[in-house]
């Protein structure tokens, strides 16, 4: 695509994005759109760890919970406000990710999967049982609304623009990191850890870096989640959510930021579109995951890339068949 065409499409896309709240009239639907934005941040964060560095984490929802509870506790019990609460959420989740990451990321494949599963569960148990801090299953409510430059973000409409800013910033950050040598290094660690180390790239350092980034994104997403719903409880941060994030990554195409974004929006809105299926939705969802893995292992982006390649190939073929028929 030429440079002009690219800038034009970005511009149009941006205008479209900014106009969404104007024509999505149902506030329930707008709430879902906002949730997809938050999910985008969480999944793009997970992409550093699983998509690029190839490490599985089934505890991502737990990290998001840490962010949510940090912001919620600081703002309800200690009267912090949105920016400081969100900053704290990001910092603390990142710190915990580093602390958990160092010993855990030495483990490979299956061990890491089970360990992160266990960690996610331990976090859930803490959220549910540490009543003095988290109110246990009653959850934390009345999380105050954000105030930006004197405006209060009191409804989904306003929230949309707040989340768009966050999504833009964090996606941009992700694109920058991926394009830098750190992005290459993380992929190198995934592709061939031994060779990466022989080139001076420490596998542990980059795995922990990826994990910390995933923690940062999860923490911020958690805080945004808390402010969007103004109420959080342990049941929002379960293994099912971690699996959902993982599914979104695979559907979008491991390692692709754009793919993660598309899949995040799609799988957040799909349950609503298929609401008539009731309980059958979850069965369909599981089936979709397996079908995607088997028939579209590179995800959406893989299909798009192949489609483009196929079109290019077709363009180079002679228009008449060489042999009859």
């Amino acid at each position: 695509m030429s440079r002009q065409a690219r800038w034009l499409s970005i511009g149009v896309g941006l205008l479209f994005m900014l106009s969404i709240p104007l024509w999505v009239t149902s506030s329930f639907y707008l709430r879902l759109v906002n949730l997809s934005g938050i999910t985008i941040i969480a999944v793009v964060g997970l992409n550093f760890l699983t998509g690029e560095t190839g490490q599985i984490s089934l505890g991502h929802a737990g990290l998001m919970g840490i962010g949510a509870y940090t912001a919620a506790i600081l703002e309800t019990a200690h009267h912090w406000e949105f920016w400081s609460g969100t900053l704290a959420a990001g910092v603390i989740t990142t710190a915990i990710a580093i602390i958990i990451g160092y010993p855990t990321l030495r483990l490979k494949g299956h061990y890491l999967a089970i360990a992160t599963l266990g960690l996610g569960q331990i976090l859930w148990l803490i959220f549910s049982n540490w009543r003095s801090a988290t109110n246990g299953f009653d959850g934390i409510g009345q999380i105050p609304e954000p105030h930006i430059f004197g405006f209060s973000i009191a409804n989904d409409f306003a929230f949309y623009y707040l989340i768009t800013v966050f999504v833009a910033a964090f996606v941009y950050l992700a694109i920058r990191i991926k394009a830098s040598s750190f992005g290459l290094a993380m992929i190198a660690v995934r592709d061939n850890e031994m060779a990466a180390e022989a080139m001076g790239i420490s596998a542990t350092t980059h795995k922990v870096l990826a994990f910390s980034l995933s923690g940062l994104y999860a923490g911020v997403a958690g805080s945004l989640y808390a402010h969007l719903f103004t109420y959080i409880s342990p049941d929002a941060f379960t293994l099912d959510l971690s699996i959902l994030f993982f599914a979104m990554l695979i559907l979008g195409g491991l390692g692709s930021i754009l793919g993660s974004m598309i899949a995040a929006v799609f799988l957040t809105l799909l349950p609503e579109w298929l609401r008539f299926l009731d309980q059958y939705y979850m069965v369909l969802y599981g089936a979709i995951i397996i079908l995607v893995i088997v028939y579209m292992p590179q995800g959406i982006m893989g299909v798009l890339k192949n489609w483009r390649r196929w079109k290019l190939f077709r363009a180079t073929q002679p228009s008449e068949p060489l042999h009859g028929g």
Binding site: L173, R176, I177, A179, S180, S181, F182, L184, A185, I187, A188, R190, D191, N192, M194, A195, A196, E197, A198, M199, G200, I201, S202, T205, H206, L209, G255
Partner: protein, 261 residues
């Protein structure tokens, strides 16, 4: 002694009941090409793996440029100026030829991390320098034309060359080549020899593990022979060629004929 880039002193490596390396000692002077030969299972790859930090020695000492390695890991040793290639070529299959070489120049510092995000002037200048070095390495090995291709689709001989470019771009002081000619056809082997000579001209010391005797005899200044983990001979090619122990252990009649060519 100060002139040696690599000093291996009474190196031993035991795996359970097996002594893969047993009291091996030798030195490589700066800028020299040294070949490590011996029958299969003699411990050649083990030695490379110990020198590059994949295994910890069970006894003995290794020093690079006078600095003892003392159980350092692969990353630290790589940062001392030691580069290597792998016998079963280990490239980063999701990356292109150029990216495989660029990533070898990566250093994980906070400054570089911030630089990558903010893209300051200093950062962009360093990027340009790195790209120039990568270009030079690729051009030297005739890989510049295919720099945008994913390494997965390349023919075997070219993949070896990409590995070499990747090790080379790090400007190593010591380069360890693990059976670089394995699986190459004759013209590729000729190219490999030219590459090694070119590297030598740049002052890079090379430790070459090889089975191809013709390559070894033509290119090395010094040969170390291992058998069952022990060093059984060391010296320049003419001496080794004629050494009875070596011939008996390994070379056999085939090489005696080749040696008189």
């Amino acid at each position: 002694m100060a002139d040696s880039i690599l000093v291996v002193e009474r190196l031993g490596k035991r795996f359970g009941g097996i002594m893969a390396l047993d009291e091996v000692s030798f030195q490589i002077p700066r800028g020299a090409v040294c070949a490590l030969i011996g029958p299969n299972g003699a411990g050649k790859s083990t030695l490379i793996n110990v020198v590059t930090g994949l295994y910890k020695p069970t006894s003995g000492q290794i020093a690079v440029e006078g600095r003892p390695l003392d159980g350092l890991g692969p990353v630290a040793i790589a940062n001392l100026g030691v580069s290597r290639t792998f016998q079963n070529v280990r490239l980063f299959h999701s990356l292109t030829v150029l990216e495989n070489v660029l990533v070898a120049k990566h250093r994980a510092t906070p400054a570089r991390f911030l630089g990558g995000i903010l893209r300051s002037a200093g950062f962009r200048q360093r990027e340009a320098t790195i790209r120039a070095e990568a270009q030079e390495a690729l051009q030297a090995l005739d890989l510049w034309e295919i720099r945008g291709r994913l390494v997965g689709g390349l023919p075997f001989g070219q993949r070896h060359l990409v590995e070499l470019a990747r090790a080379l771009v790090r400007r190593p002081k010591l380069l360890l080549l693990d059976e670089p000619s394995a699986g190459l056809i004759r013209p590729e082997i000729v190219r490999l020899m030219q590459c090694i000579r070119m590297l030598q001209n740049r002052g890079i010391a090379i430790l070459l593990v090889e089975h191809n005797m013709e390559l070894v005899m033509r290119i090395s200044e010094q040969i170390v022979v291992l058998d069952f983990g022990k060093k059984i001979a060391e010296g320049p090619p003419e001496v080794i060629r004629a050494d009875a122990k070596v011939i008996e252990a390994y070379l056999g009649r085939r090489h005696q004929r080749a040696g008189t060519r």
